[in-house]
């Protein structure tokens, strides 16, 4: 377990920066993480119908969460970019609810809504996911067209019709590319079954 943890840390250059924050509140490590991730989180949020100003504000909050929660980060369960993706996703959901409720009250519901209960399930397939590198490998086997459709469909919250119009492809092609891509990712788990 330790050895796989070590291997993970080598795979993910950002894990050492989070550890530096966790161990010694290293501000330079924070600055490096902020400079890399805050502009990318901002882009991701702006693709999700968020204004630039609000996207930047949520990106600030996301990186502040990295600072405050560095001790909770487990490099064996997710890469830093995946961890930050989930933080940004949760903050985006909370921010849109706060806005709908008039903006006055702090909302922090999404994190609990995504927390899977602690009770571990006896499923060998969980082990496969510990190796996030394999997900990246599988993504490399997807065509850029398939990736684009996954990205627009789930991470930019676009309907199949909108995707078809944007990419100027038939609706049926959108659906078949998505299905193929999903099967590829599912296959990643079933290899070990």
């Amino acid at each position: 377990m330790t050895s796989s943890g070590e291997r993970r840390r080598r795979d993910d250059p950002w894990a050492a920066f989070v550890e530096a924050i966790s161990v010694r509140q290293d501000r330079e490590a924070f600055a490096a993480l902020f400079s890399h991730f805050a502009p990318r989180v901002t882009t991701y949020l702006m693709k999700n119908r968020t204004s630039q100003q609000q996207a930047e504000e949520i990106a600030q909050e996301a990186l502040l969460s990295v600072w405050r929660k560095a001790q909770l980060y487990d490099p064996r369960s997710a890469s830093v970019s995946t961890w930050i993706f989930t933080i940004a996703r949760n903050l985006r959901i909370d921010a849109s609810r706060r806005e709908r409720r008039g903006g006055a009250i702090h909302v922090d519901e999404a994190e609990a809504e995504f927390a899977l209960d602690d009770a571990p399930l006896p499923d060998a397939r969980m082990a496969a996911v510990q190796s996030e590198a394999r997900v990246r490998d599988a993504m490399r086997t997807l065509s850029s067209q398939q990736l684009k459709v996954i990205q627009m469909s789930f991470f930019e919250d676009k309907t199949h019709g909108e995707i078809a119009r944007t990419l100027q492809i038939p609706l049926g092609t959108v659906k078949s590319r998505l299905r193929l891509a999903m099967n590829r990712l599912r296959g990643l788990l079933d290899q070990d079954a």
């Binding site: 930047e56 997710a78 995946t82 922090d108 969980m126 997900v135 990643l188």
Partner: protein, 215 residues
């Protein structure tokens, strides 16, 4: 617990991306509480999100963004909204922790051998969530719905043309599907149901159901 019916991959990907409305999210989270296979797939989708984040083109931030963040590092974290609502002590097993904190209405009789219990979400959602309890041996009437309906079994079991559904199993009903589930002998069958749109029932039962439909 052997789970044989799962949400499709696209729904799990939408869950992981944070693209589901809260009612649908609750139904998927309830399935994930029981299903390691789908948990693993949702984690894969989060990894896809991480990889995409890594590949995003960096946006140009407002001047001084980093300095502003550095100045905020020593500020205290905003107090978590501590919601220590009492959890109803008569809830069925299998609900995710955050769902147990919601307000549950009383069980209401809606048809012979069938009761429902509304779950109040903290957020307006186009998808309503409720518990549906059916006595063993009941044959549910055919109903049409105008939107998709997500069902996750908590206790007991039912069968329909699509197979047998026991605890943890997930069933997706869409407007084109006509199913008449039959509740198995044994314990009462309690399901968490998340549904969009309105139910349309014919006949007497439909009229009996109206108060429930408009809750």
């Amino acid at each position: 617990m052997t789970i044989t019916h799962h949400p499709d991959e696209e729904m799990l990907a939408a869950y992981a991306a944070g693209a589901l409305d809260l009612g649908q999210h609750v139904a998927i989270a309830t399935h994930l509480a029981a299903c390691g296979r789908c948990r693993a797939f949702s984690r894969v989708c989060e990894c896809v999100g991480g990889a995409m984040l890594e590949d995003e083109a960096p946006a140009a931030l407002a001047e001084g963004a980093l300095d502003r963040a550095l100045r905020r590092l020593d500020a205290p974290a905003p107090a978590a909204s501590a919601k220590t609502q009492p959890v109803a002590d008569d809830l069925p097993p299998g609900l995710p922790a955050f769902v147990k904190g919601y307000d549950f209405g009383p069980w209401r009789w809606i048809a012979p051998r069938i009761h429902v219990r509304a779950i109040a979400l903290p957020e307006p959602s186009p998808t309503r969530v409720l518990l549906l309890r059916s006595a063993p041996g009941t044959k549910l009437i055919h109903h049409e719905h105008t939107g998709v309906e997500l069902t996750c079994v908590l206790t007991g079991a039912f069968s329909h043309e699509g197979g047998r559904y026991g605890p943890g199993d997930f069933d997706l009903g869409d407007p084109s599907v006509e199913h008449e589930p039959h509740i198995e002998a044994g314990p009462p069958c309690i399901c968490l149901v998340a549904m969009q749109g309105d139910l349309k029932f014919g006949g007497l039962v439909g009229r009996l159901m109206q108060p429930f439909v408009s809750f």
